[in-house]
């Protein structure tokens, strides 16, 4: 099994495992078969959570995506159509599987489309290792700020340790000042970034008092 996808054999019921094996064989023989198989995964395999990153349906859909015997432009077209025609569960699976099927950033258009939306479950799925590796600096900073607005914990945003910089710290410090002025709470998880990069004289004073 491709690295990055958790070991599904131990968590799937025998019937679900057989269905998934057959689905993979069918996709290898005829990649267009994925169109009907992809939406059926959750009903066939389940949707329980496996670990902090994957649910069963997302991992099983990732298995189908990595089975596609396609290269560009057919791969981008097929995966793009699965996302375009997918419900949110299917779209989350596509977003989580991106680092397994592409290492050149060809699917950034899917990440960008998701980041324009409001569904926090999709935004979170879009901000995994793929976005951390490929999103340009300015877009990555905007995405982090959007997470703060949407109360998505920053611990769920991939790559923050490597990609946080002085500009992001300034944006977060400005956000904190705005919140403090409005008498609203400042999320605690932004202070490490501010402390690491913003000069001490450019930090909201209230933050230095906090924990």
């Amino acid at each position: 099994m491709i690295s990055g996808i958790p070991e599904l054999r131990t968590v799937l019921e025998p019937e679900a495992r057989a269905w998934l094996d057959t689905a993979v064989d069918r996709i290898i023989a005829d990649p267009t078969a994925i169109g009907a198989l992809f939406p059926a995964v959750r009903r066939r395999c389940g949707r329980a959570r496996i670990d902090g990153h994957w649910t069963i349906d997302e991992a099983a859909r990732a298995v189908l995506l990595t089975a596609l015997p396609l290269h560009d432009p057919a791969l981008t077209e097929t995966v793009g159509a699965l996302h375009r025609h997918g419900d949110p569960a299917e779209q989350r699976a596509v977003l989580r599987a991106l680092p397994l099927i592409d290492d050149e950033g060809r699917f950034l258009f899917l990440v960008r489309e998701t980041l324009r939306g409001n569904d926090t479950t999709l935004i979170e799925a879009a901000l995994g290792p793929y976005a951390a590796r490929h999103l340009p600096d300015d877009e990555y900073r905007q995405a982090v700020l959007k997470c703060v607005f949407y109360e998505i914990p920053l611990s769920r945003v991939a790559g923050l340790d490597e990609r946080a910089d002085a500009e992001l710290a300034r944006m977060l410090a400005d956000f904190a000042r705005e919140r403090i002025a409005a008498g609203r709470a400042v999320p605690e998880d932004i202070t490490p970034v501010i402390r690491a990069f913003a000069p001490a004289d450019d930090r909201p004073a209230a933050l230095d008092g906090a924990s």
């Binding site: 059926a40 949707r47 419900d87 109360e151």
Partner: protein, 288 residues
């Protein structure tokens, strides 16, 4: 009182409605694809609408503790516009989705040839996808229209227990229940059906295969009519268990036939989405 509204158009309703519905006991609902008031002039605007019934609207509902499912179809009114007909070819893609628990709303509006074809084709789609069908009965010429609808349902070969005929009244209820189909009633502030009439119908015909909905939409309507009907039933002497059957167990049994009514066993915890509850995400109120 736990309530499942089997027919309500939440796309047209506000977050105040969601809050009031949760407070009234609504924990799950089905939003049928329907006419939006303003005619659509291209198939693409249907696809964006279907996507929102599968994406944004369930997300919005979940923030208020309500589980949202939908039915997908080309509605009878717009089946008369040749520009919208290509939608029929794209329906299978949507009928494959997890939260789609029936084909609907289909049925007659003006009983045209085009509506005949759209109804028959979509009943076949329900059979192929092993889904129930939500069939609306016409507002004008209702009795003849209901009779004709039952004929088409019979000719299609779909099992009657997989079909609900909706917006029924005193004159159409018997023929529908006799056919083996389910009987749906839309309780409305002025037209269609009132709580008290609804109570009398259940007294006379019983509560088997009966669904009560608010059918609330962008017109003058009331998303709390389900609860008001439950209260009217209690006031008329029905037991709480009978109210629970009509307002919860019946819709669960009908849409459960899809095999896709994946209801959360815990009903009283509002949460954005099952995947977001991991590590306890907070409840959010949408846009920036």
């Amino acid at each position: 009182m736990r309530i499942f509204d089997p027919h309500i158009h939440m796309t047209s309703r506000t977050t105040d409605d969601y809050e009031a519905m949760f407070a009234a006991g609504v924990r799950a609902l089905v939003e049928p694809a329907f006419w939006l008031g303003q005619p659509r002039t291209s198939p693409e605007s249907f696809y964006d609408y279907f996507d929102s019934l599968l994406g944004w609207e369930p997300y919005r509902a979940a923030q208020f503790g309500i589980q949202h499912f939908c039915t997908i179809a080309l509605n009878p009114k717009e089946a008369n516009d040749p520009r919208c007909m290509p939608v029929l070819d794209e329906l299978p893609r949507y009928l494959a989705k997890d939260r789609v628990v029936a084909v609907g709303e289909i049925g007659y509006d003006s009983m045209t040839k085009e509506e005949d074809e759209a109804l028959a084709r979509q009943l076949q789609l329900a059979i192929e996808h092993e889904l129930p069908a939500l069939v609306h009965t016409p507002h004008r010429d209702k009795e003849a229209g209901t009779r004709r609808t039952l004929d088409v349902v019979r000719e299609s070969g779909i099992a009657p227990e997989l079909v609900v005929l909706d917006h029924l009244n005193e004159l159409t209820v018997s023929m529908v229940l006799d056919s083996g189909c389910w009987a749906g009633f839309s309780v409305y502030p002025k037209t269609k059906m009132s709580e008290d009439r609804m109570v009398r119908i259940i007294q006379e015909h019983g509560s088997d295969r009966v669904l009560v909905n608010s059918a609330a939409d962008w017109g003058r309507s009331d998303p709390l009519k389900t609860r008001k009907t439950g209260l009217a039933m209690l006031a008329a002497g029905f037991a709480a268990d009978e109210v629970d059957k009509v307002l919860w167990r019946n819709p669960v049994a009908f849409y459960g036939q899809s095999g896709r009514l994946d209801l959360d066993p815990v009903l009283d915890e509002p949460k954005p989405d099952e995947s977001a509850t991991y590590q306890g995400n907070s409840i959010k109120r949408g846009g920036e």
